[in-house]
Structure formats: structure tokens, C-alpha cells
């Protein structure tokens, strides 16, 4: 109860406007016909609290799609590292995406540390938002155990009736709450309603795939030669959508560009995708993953196998974005089910 406060829903607009006076606030808003995106807002008006999932995850604020990292001057032989960062309040992050940000933290805090990421991250205040129901049928957050919050936020909002019950998790979060002066302390009734919601969620969120959490890794370890990869490889067109929208994909390319004076220029880092044909091509033209099926196998092993060995956690959040964004209709849950079926078949015969 200590760390729980209440914000009336009717005060959300004031809350956002107050913060937006001094900081950039980004929140989920509708984009296009049936999509959503995190965008800058100055009031609560455009925020869509019932959003399903955004096209791109919030990683775009931590690891921008395109980022200048060095400016150079050939004549002066000068190389200047550059860092772009700004103070941002990131509002409305679902629990799966909180987990995704934690995954990126692990990757970029490893030695050698990525200071651009870390410094940018330090200036972003994260406000989570609880899902009381599934966003849509593509989600597999219960399989990945991400339907409930597990840290990684400054404040966490749970919407109940006419109010938000807010978990204040950090000093920065507390400062923000105090500054707005709009919140009151939670009482016993709030706490018991919060508990009721959690109970109700246990009946709503059920493992979406017929395999226990711990068995996921062995499933992938033993499926290196699976025919499922060939079948997916036939369908995949290597558009790279599944990796670009994934909250835990972080691979990037480095591009040097020169200005028209043919003297000064910039080095930028841009998102790359293991699904691009040339991703695993090395000098001499050798390509380690020429086949589309191999590339998909690699992508999923980078979610369900390799990171478990290295960091003892899965790198899939269960957000369902890869399924939503696949133009070829390749579905993550169907893929896992196909691997399970194949395994059963092998065991029985």
C-alpha cells in the first residue's frame, strides 16, 4: 500500500498536460485504420488506453532506427563521437514491452558497454500500463509469463473503473507524481480491487501453446534439422518486418556517409535484419545463411535458445508483433505448435 497512489481517470488529461509542459511525453495513439504507434502527445486527448499493440515497440526511443554516432572531418583528421538524447516520459507501456526493454538493457550493458544506449535510457522515464485482457489473438505473453508486471518501470498504471491505481517504483517516479499533485494515497478498497483483478487475469491469460515454459528451449535445441524450417522458408519473402517490429531485436548496421564537400561526413547506425539475404554474407561472397528457412530458424533460436544459454532468459516477450507484421502470414504460435507436433511424431514413431 505504501507505494500505491490513485489518479482519477478524469485527471489523466491534466496529468499529461502538466508533464508535457517541461518534458516530451510519448504515448500510444491511433495510426492508420487499425494500427497504433507511440508518438509525442501534449495532452491526454490522443492517447488510446485500449490500444492493442504498436507497430514498432518502444525500442525506437532507446535505439533509434537511424542514429548518427560519429561526425568526421578528413582534412583535420578529426573524429567526434555524437550522442543524441532527450528527456522523455514514455507513457502506456504494456508488460510484454517492459520485458523487451529489460532485454535490451542486458544487451547494451554488456562489455563493451553501449554508452549511447545507456545515456539515452537514463533520460527516459517509463510508465507501464496493465493489460486486463488480451490485446488480440496473436499474443503469447502467458506462455512467456509476461502478462503481469515484473519491474522495469518507474510508475505502473492499472486501470480500474474510474481510476488508475499506480505503483510507484522509483524515486524519479515518485518525484513526477508529487510534482503533478493530482494523486491521492490508495486505501484498502483499492488494494483489494487490485487483487481481484489479478485473480480474474489468471482465468483470462492461459498458456497459449501446449508446452510448459521450461521445455521451450529444449524444443528449439532439438529442432535444428526440423522440416518446419523448410516449410517456413518456402513462405517467407525476407521482408524483414518480423525483426524490425520485435522488441528484442537489436542488430544494426554501420554506414559511413560523406557530405558533398567530399571532406566532412557522418557515421550512422541503422537497424539491420537477419532476414535480409546479405546479413550473413562475408568478404569473398560466402553466405552462412543463404536459405530463408535457415534465417527464420536463426531468428527464433535468438529468442528461445541462445539467450537462455547466455543470459538465462528467453528473448521473446510474447508480444505477437512478428505474427501481426508478417506479410506472408507466418505465425509464431503456429510455428511452435508445428515443432511440438513434429516432436510428438518423432517420439511415437
Amino acid at each position: 500500500m505504501e507505494n500505491l497512489v490513485i489518479l482519477k481517470k478524469e485527471d489523466l488529461n491534466d496529468f499529461v498536460m502538466q508533464i508535457a509542459r517541461t518534458k516530451k511525453v510519448v504515448a500510444p495513439v491511433r495510426k492508420g485504420v487499425k494500427s497504433f504507434a507511440f508518438e509525442e502527445v501534449t495532452s491526454g486527448a490522443r492517447i488510446d488506453l485500449d490500444y492493442t499493440s504498436t507497430i514498432l515497440p518502444p525500442k525506437k526511443y532507446f535505439l533509434p532506427q537511424k542514429e548518427t554516432i560519429i561526425e568526421y572531418d578528413k582534412r583535420k583528421k578529426e573524429w567526434t563521437p555524437t550522442l543524441y538524447s532527450e528527456e522523455i516520459v514514455l507513457f502506456g507501456v504494456h508488460t510484454c514491452d517492459l520485458f523487451g526493454i529489460q532485454c535490451l538493457d542486458i544487451i547494451f550493458s554488456e562489455n563493451p558497454k553501449d554508452f549511447n544506449y545507456i545515456l539515452r535510457k537514463n533520460r527516459i522515464l517509463i510508465i507501464g500500463l496493465e493489460c486486463s485482457n488480451y490485446c488480440d489473438e496473436n499474443a503469447s505473453c502467458a506462455l512467456m509469463d509476461n502478462q503481469n508486471p515484473n519491474g522495469g518501470y518507474d510508475l505502473f498504471f492499472t486501470e480500474i473503473d474510474d481510476r488508475f491505481i499506480i505503483h510507484v517504483n522509483t524515486y524519479h517516479g515518485e518525484k513526477l507524481i508529487n510534482k503533478t499533485g493530482l494523486c491521492t494515497k490508495a486505501d484498502k478498497r483499492d488494494v483489494s480491487e487490485l487483487r481481484l483483478l489479478k485473480e480474474r487475469k489468471r482465468n483470462v491469460f492461459k498458456n497459449e501453446v501446449d508446452i510448459p515454459y521450461a521445455e521451450l528451449k529444449p524444443l528449439f535445441v532439438n529442432a535444428m534439422k526440423s522440416k518446419v524450417w523448410d516449410e517456413i522458408g518456402e513462405k517467407c519473402v525476407s521482408c524483414g518486418n518480423c525483426t524490425n517490429v520485435c522488441p528484442t531485436c537489436y542488430c544494426f548496421d554501420i554506414i559511413d556517409d560523406i557530405n558533398l564537400d567530399l571532406n566532412t561526413g557522418t557515421r550512422t547506425r541503422v537497424w539491420d535484419s537477419c532476414q535480409n539475404g546479405s546479413f550473413a554474407e562475408v568478404a569473398g561472397g560466402e553466405n552462412f545463411r543463404e536459405d530463408r528457412g535457415e534465417r527464420q530458424r536463426h531468428r527464433l533460436n535468438r529468442k528461445f535458445n541462445y539467450p537462455v544459454s547466455k543470459f538465462r532468459r528467453y528473448f521473446c516477450t510474447g508480444c505477437g508483433r512478428c505474427t501481426r507484421a508478417c506479410v506472408a502470414g507466418i505465425d509464431l504460435k503456429e510455428t511452435i505448435n508445428a515443432l511440438i507436433e513434429e516432436k510428438k511424431g518423432n517420439e511415437n514413431g
Binding site: 495510426k31 492508420g32 485504420v33 487499425k34 494500427s35 504507434a37 507497430i55 514498432l56 525506437k60 532506427q65 537511424k66 518456402e234 513462405k235 517467407c236 519473402v237 525476407s238 521482408c239 524483414g240 518486418n241 524490425n244 517490429v245 556517409d257 560523406i258 558533398l260 564537400d261 567530399l262 541503422v270 537497424w271 535484419s273 535480409n276 539475404g277 546479405s278 530463408r292 507484421a325 506479410v327 506472408a328 502470414g329
Partner: protein, 250 residues
Amino acid sequence: MKAKVAFFDFACCEGCQLQIANIGEALLDVLDKIDVVEFREVMSEKSGGDYDVAVIEGSITTKHAIERIKEIRSIAKVLITIGACASIGGVNGMKNNFELPEIKKYVYGEDEKYFDSVPTMAVDQVVKVDYYVHGCPMYVPEFVTVLKHALMGLPYKAPEKSVCTECKLNENECLFDRGLTCMGPVTRAGCNSWCVNNGNICYGCRGMLDDPAKTGQIEILKKHDIPLEWVTNKFNMYNKAKDVKENENE
């Protein structure tokens, strides 16, 4: 010494040259580096001689054009094609959907015999091309990039990945989700998903990827109940010239 750059046009709408004239301020920076020796859209002065860079717009559609492009190639150190017509044949390639005499008659009527015409070819179907700037019209930032590479003698290759990769980075709502058919998944990137950013489908003007995943693409069409011919027609719009075999026109 400034590099001598010449612009030549063949069968096209000259829209790409217009794009260059429209570059605006950056054009002044470009002009700082180069001497434009022939350029119909923005200059009237002409001068013969050797060129450091020849920039070619338009596709090759006549015997005369074949001779002319060979001559240009022989006196140019570097040759750049700009726009779909020069780089992949472009819309002029649609002529190749018909028998040549038949289409000549359709276009020129009785006077058909006075016109010199061969099946449409991209420039690289006649001479060696060093750099390509794709698109219809070409994408200006790519032209500037290619020019810089050419001036520094560095190689440049258009990205061998799909328009989708750029489209997703721009966080556009996928047009398939709006019930439209988009050529993005099989079209070569490099235009920063120009059309989708502006609310249109990608109609494949930068040409098909070298390795466009045919089976996957057919699956996508099935999924959305779209007839295959519809898409082949779309792609024919830009890619048909490439059906002409080497030396077929000589």
C-alpha cells in the same frame, strides 16, 4: 580540377532530369564539385569531348540510340544510369509485350516504315554501367549518394533488401492491413518507402529484388485472394525490358 559531367537523355519523360533541377540548394553544392558540360533541362550550352561522368536517362529503343550510347560510353570514364528507364528499361519496356511490327503500326500507323524502332532495352543491355540510380522518377537522395561515390571512385550498390524494411522503420501501417496489395515485399529498397509514406502503395518502380522469393509471394497473393496476373502486370510495367536477350537488337 572539377569533374566534367554530362547528362544525356534517351527514351524517357525527362522527369528524372527535372528531379535534378529540383534538388535546390544541394545542387549548388554539387555544382561546386562538377562542371556540367551537357544538360538539356537546365543548360543550353553544349560541348563535345571526353567526360569524367556521363549520366544517362532513358531506355534504348532505336538503332540510332544503340550507336549513340556506345559512343558516349567510349568517351566517358564513368557511366551512371538514372531512373527506371535507363536502369531497368522502365515503362518503355511495356512495348515488348507486343510484336514489334504490330505495335509500330499501332503507334505510327501508315508511316510505320519510316521509324527506326527496336525492342526496349535498359542501358546495361547495350553497354557497361558503373552506377545505377533506380526509381520512377529516381529518388534524389540516392542520386546525390551515387554521385559522391562516383566522384570518390568508390563502389555503390543499391540495398538488396525489400522496400518493407524501410517502410517498417518509418512505422507506416502496412497496406495489406488495409486490404490493398503492395509490391513492397519484392521491390528493391533505397527510396525510403517514398510512396507508402505518402499514402500510396509501392508499385515496384525500383525493380524486383535479385532474389524475390517467388513461392512466398504467390502464397501472399493467395492469402489475399489476388490474381497472379494482376501482379505480373504491375511488374511488367517496369521490368519487361529485361526479357530482351543480349545482342538480340544488334
